[in-house]
């Protein structure tokens, strides 16, 4: 937030500095709102990623489906949902990974796990 406050543990605040850092990643994610681009991504992920000016580290995060790393690199969570969807990872699967849990472990922590 650019303010001198104690960080909230295990929490990322998407501010302008982070947003600037994540510009390339977020542009790639936003492109996935077009069904033609989603298809191109699924057909040839490497070729698709090459269309954007992503760094090798940024491409590595996507190749490894490293969702916690993507957030730290400045990808916005709502933009990450688009790359999640294109790679077959629902919000809850990405969340489980960020928590360091399996999907089943994560579901067992929920009040009503059928509401997915």
């Amino acid at each position: 937030m650019g303010l001198a406050v104690t960080p909230i543990p295990d929490t990322s605040i998407f501010d302008l500095r982070l947003s600037r850092q994540g510009t390339r990643l977020n542009k790639m994610c936003a492109s996935l709102c077009d069904p033609k681009n989603r298809e191109a991504f699924k057909q040839d992920e490497e070729g698709y990623l090459a269309r954007f000016s992503l760094t090798d580290d940024e491409k590595g995060l996507i190749r490894r489906r490293d969702f916690a790393g993507m957030i730290e690199a400045g990808m916005n969570i709502y933009f990450m949902l688009k790359v999640g969807s294109a790679t077959g990872n629902s919000l809850y699967r990405m969340g489980a990974q960020m928590r360091g849990e399996t999907y089943e472990q994560f579901l067992s922590t929920r009040n009503i796990k059928g509401a997915v």
Partner: protein
């Protein structure tokens, strides 16, 4: 007779509700508590005979991206397309707008020093559509009310303050009352409640905070307007900061508006709140 605000609703806009509606799974045991809560709300809304819904919501990277990001953006169109937010375009009819009302609101709100981004084209997605699905289900002939979308930046800090959002609601009330068309308007404040969708704290919820927020929305919205973003994020999760949009709805109502319905359901990762007021 000038226009007037007849009701306000605060409600969550959880995206997973969309596919449940589209696949007709509302009666699933895990979802039924949510959908049942809206049955009396829709009956009440029918009796109120609203003409227009002003929907205060946030986009999630479908229409607005960070190359240019408006703090407040008001739709001023006669129709709003259904946007593809990365999962396909939902099978929903286009949303009818009321451009004349929008233009009046733009003129009055900017005169009141709320320097809005005015959008003559604007696609809408789950932040807008899920509340519409719950409150104003569409039929083959479209949606039962016209809409004015009001998009708020709640995802890229710095965000407008809670008080700024509350004051925007007060200015919206003033603007509506000076519009010389006899329209009955419902204001929807959407988003939240407690949730965090990233980091190791993914899945964090806080029902105690959410119930406190609902209590204060009824009896002391001024206290909520004084909340910092930090306090909301610390108590209720980083993404719970969307709750500042409920304050715009509350600000658009009279201080003594009567609470009618209230419900809370937190099955997975978001406290899904519902509160209605009649004005």
């Amino acid at each position: 007779m000038p226009s007037r605000i007849v009701a306000g609703i605060g409600l969550s806009h959880v995206p997973s509700v969309g596919p449940v509606v589209d696949r007709g799974r509302q009666a699933d045991p895990a979802w039924r508590p949510l959908f049942d809560a809206y049955v009396p709300v829709r009956e009440w809304l029918s009796a109120l005979r609203p003409d227009v819904a002003v929907v205060i919501y946030n986009d999630h990277g479908a229409e607005f991206t960070f190359d240019k990001y408006p703090t407040f953006a008001l739709g001023a169109a006669d129709r709003y397309a259904i946007a593809d937010e990365g999962f396909g375009t939902r099978p929903l009819p286009e949303v009818a707008g009321d451009a004349e009302l929008s233009i009046h609101l733009c003129e009055k709100l900017i005169e009141a020093e709320f320097d809005l981004t005015v959008c003559q084209e604007m696609g809408v997605e789950h932040g807008f559509l899920v509340p519409m699905n719950l409150c104003f289900p569409h039929t083959s002939s479209g949606w039962p009310v016209k809409c004015v979308p009001l998009q708020v930046n709640v995802i890229q800090h710095p965000l407008p303050t809670a008080r700024r959002c509350y004051r925007l609601g007060q200015a919206l009330r003033e603007a509506v009352s000076s519009y010389e068309r006899d329209l009955r308007i419902v204001v929807l404040g959407t988003g939240g409640m407690s949730h965090q969708l990233q980091g190791r704290r993914f899945g964090f919820m806080n029902e105690k905070f959410d119930q406190w927020f609902l209590d204060r929305l009824e009896d002391d919205p001024e206290t909520l307007a004084s909340l910092s973003h930090y306090k909301i994020m610390e108590e209720a999760g980083a993404e719970a900061v969307e709750l500042i949009m409920w304050l715009t709805m509350r600000g658009a109502l009279s201080p003594h508006a009567k609470r009618v319905h209230r419900h809370y359901y937190a099955p997975m990762t978001t406290g899904m709140g519902l509160i209605t007021f009649e004005d």
